[in-house]
């Protein structure tokens, strides 16, 4: 019995370590392909695989041992200089690493299956025979992948059935195409979904220094508590109003300071570098580039930028979408690029940086850029907008059309993009994180997608408002401005209340109506309007009173009350009562029918 527990501990350790090694491996391998001569990198890759092999043989995962053993042998030959890294060899190595990932995730799921591994191993074996030299390696190594694709992919197909038709499409190809055919592609697809559950979200590694800092802060907090107890006992019985209020004031200030420090520390511990997401991309970009026949130089910047775990977990998918789009729609083929007078290799820059309380992630390519005319035409064809609407749109607004559900400029949906769901999903995901997405584009020069995300989802700045006696909190990130308006200034258009605010007509939403608050107070003709904006849309929320700005910690309402319309969560106020947090996104969207219109002259 105790032995089993020990085994479980060993297994957990193995999984954590292997997962970390594998995550790094992808990135390293792609880098290796670019910098062939880097022996240190090669050694590191070799060591990683070696470690995985050693641990798995110790724990008796035979399939894993077989695959890693052969991969290690190939890497060893590369290390000794008997082989030279070529894209074809890299394909095979990447494929076997993918296989290793699948096997590891099987172990993690406690569901060890007999998987077909011979296909991949047979591809590795030719690389081990001494006859393969650097010059001849490509043609000789490649035919096996071609022949094995059909057998290798069904194994992956088990995890994701969609991969199967893919392999069928590839196998009938004439053998000649083998050297350029990218066999790992279907396998990669399967791994993308599998690989994600590989990464462990239940444990965090924290810098010891941060932990020490935290302990220090907690020490401070304990001191403040002691002072408070002291103060309490000092003033027990006799109350000297003046000196009490002075002491209490001091104490409050210190306590405030210590807790906000503490809050920062804990927040920092939850932060992880965005590198965790970024490091997946070189691999994805490499495969896409090979599939699309494009040459891409991916540059990563600001990988060390830190953001909250919750945000990191959510931005992966939107970023993959954007990268795919940039590579598929944005960047041109080498020939097109040369014709346009650009360098043959396209550049894709993925950058992250802090800006105030936000993190900015940008995906920039130097491709052909977004063409407003083409986008406008497509949107018309798909019936997403009318002629009149298009005519009145600014070029900037036309670009935003790509976020409409069902929009696609591709004539034919490719495997990568063009089904017209991508950008819509991207924007929805970003919105969920309280973020915004912005497009910059110059025709012929390239385009840039900019994501602005909050640092954390746990604590937000909010505006507390009162609605007929009830207190609600509105996330400050969505608040544009607040106004005190006389209700007589409201206009009614189509039964909906509007307010003329400078050059725009602002649709109004009565919070008391949305939230069914019973009217307690006399109707005062003056009220406050909180202008909230999501993306380009603006809505004015009518509230009774503004109470002020406060930093609030978001508390979930639980499974039970999740997904309430107009409510994003709750928070606890200074007096211990609960206040609900308004969800500006749903209120703005819910008002879609009457979107902000421009006043004609």
């Amino acid at each position: 019995m105790s032995m089993e527990i020990e085994d479980q501990e060993l297994l957990d350790g193995f999984l954590t370590e292997t997962t970390e090694l594998l995550e790094k491996l992808d990135d390293d391998l792609v880098t290796l392909e670019k910098t062939t001569g880097d022996t240190e990198l090669l050694n590191r890759i070799f060591r990683s695989i070696h470690t995985v092999k050693g641990a798995s043989s110790f724990l008796g995962f035979e399939l894993l041992v077989k695959v890693t053993h052969k991969t290690e042998d190939v890497l060893n030959r590369l290390r000794k200089g008997e082989l030279v890294v070529t894209p074809e060899i890299m394909d095979v190595i990447l494929e076997s690493v993918d296989l290793v990932k699948i096997l590891v995730s099987d172990i993690k799921a406690n569901d060890i299956k007999e998987r077909e591994i011979d296909g991949t191993i047979e591809k590795l074996i030719p690389l081990l025979s001494s006859s393969v030299t650097d010059g001849g390696s490509a043609p000789e190594a490649a035919p096996p992948p071609q022949a094995e694709t059909a057998t290798a992919t069904p194994a992956a197909g088990e995890t994701k059935p969609e991969a199967e038709p893919q392999s069928d499409a590839i196998s009938p190809q004439p053998p000649k195409a083998a050297t350029v055919a990218p066999p790992p592609q279907p396998v990669v697809k399967a791994v993308e979904s599998k690989g994600e559950d590989l990464s462990d979200n239940t444990t965090v590694r924290v810098d010891v220094k941060r932990l020490d800092d935290l302990m220090n802060q907690v020490g401070e907090l304990v001191l403040e508590r002691n002072r408070m107890i002291q103060l309490n006992s000092n003033y027990q019985g006799e109350v000297n109003q003046e000196s009490f209020s002075e002491d209490f004031n001091k104490l409050t200030k210190r306590l405030n300071f210590v807790t906000s420090e503490l809050q920062m520390q804990v927040l920092k511990m939850r932060m992880i570098p965005v590198e965790k997401v970024f490091k997946k991309f070189p691999r994805i970009v490499r495969n896409l580039a090979r599939d699309l026949g494009k040459e891409v130089d991916l540059q990563l910047m600001g990988e060390e930028t830190e953001l909250d775990r919750s945000v990191v977990d959510e931005i992966g998918d939107p970023l993959i979408h954007l990268i795919r789009n940039a590579m598929d729609h944005g960047l041109e083929t080498p020939d097109e690029r040369l014709a346009a007078g650009k360098s043959k290799m396209g550049t894709l820059i993925l950058a992250a940086a802090h800006e105030g309380n936000q993190i900015i992630i940008s995906i920039k390519d130097d491709g052909k850029g977004l063409d407003p005319d083409k986008i406008g035409r497509k949107a018309l064809e798909k019936g997403l907008i009318t002629d009149d609407q298009l005519a009145s749109m600014m070029p900037r607004e036309i670009l935003d059309l790509i976020f409409l559900p069902g929009f696609s400029t591709k004539e034919k949906a490719s495997d990568l993009s063009g089904r017209g769901v991508g950008m819509d999903v991207v924007r929805t995901n970003i919105k969920k994180l309280n973020g915004i997405i912005d497009i910059k584009s110059e025709l012929g020069k390239g385009s840039e997608f900019i994501l602005k995300l909050p640092l954390t989802l746990a604590i937000i700045q909010s505006l507390l408002v009162e609605v007929e006696g009830e207190i609600y909190s509105i996330p400050l990130s969505a608040v544009m401005e607040t106004l005190r308006v006389d209700q007589r200034e409201f206009h009614t258009i189509g039964g909906k209340e509007m307010l003329k605010l400078r050059e725009i007509v602002l649709p109004l939403v009565r919070l008391e109506r949305v939230f069914g608050v019973s009217r307690k107070m006399d109707t005062d003709s003056a009220c406050y309007v909180v202008v909230v904006g999501v993306g380009e849309k603006r809505v004015g929320l009518i509230v009774t009173r503004l109470l002020g700005q406060q930093e609030v910690a978001i508390k979930s309402l639980g499974k039970y009350l999740a997904n309430l319309p107009g409510i994003a969560g709750s928070t606890i106020l200074g007096d211990g009562s609960v206040a609900l947090i308004v969800d500006p996104v749903s209120l703005v969207e819910g008002n879609d029918g009457a979107s902000t219109g421009r006043i004609a002259a």
Binding site: K555, G558, Y560, L561, L564, I567, S577, V578, L580
Partner: protein, 170 residues
Amino acid sequence: MENALTIHRDQKEKEDASGELIQLVSFKLDEEEYGVDVLKVREIIRMPSITRVPNTPHYVEGVINLRGKVIPIMSIRRRFGLGEVENDKSTRIMVMDVDGELMGFIVDSVSEVIRISEKEIQPPPPVATSGVDQECMSGVINQPERLLVLLDLEKMSSREDRKMLSNLSI
């Protein structure tokens, strides 16, 4: 180790013979007495200030702050259609563990913890008492001096779940 196991089994068998003892928290709504499994009850608190939550079913009273955790509060009265009464000093919230989440239920008063043998539990009568949902009743306990209705609040909330979802889709 094995010894301990057999001993434990023996005990269990003995209990089975006399009917396993279970403990119930009994509470009152109007003059009727109800009981819920003590293991499901996390704590019993007085009425704090409740924050109303808009667009919820009528029996969701709102949410409260339970030492930093926000939990929903249901009114069993409203759920069972028992008619409103003013909250008084005996009104309590029973905080229960429902499907792994905490949830509070408002009751008129909490009486005591009682032990009964499982054998005393009879299936609920076909006609439910005063509007209490048949589905939430898991049995009745008929003792000479009292009649106790055994409630399964977990069932009550799973029904609510479905209801809420259908409410939201409108």
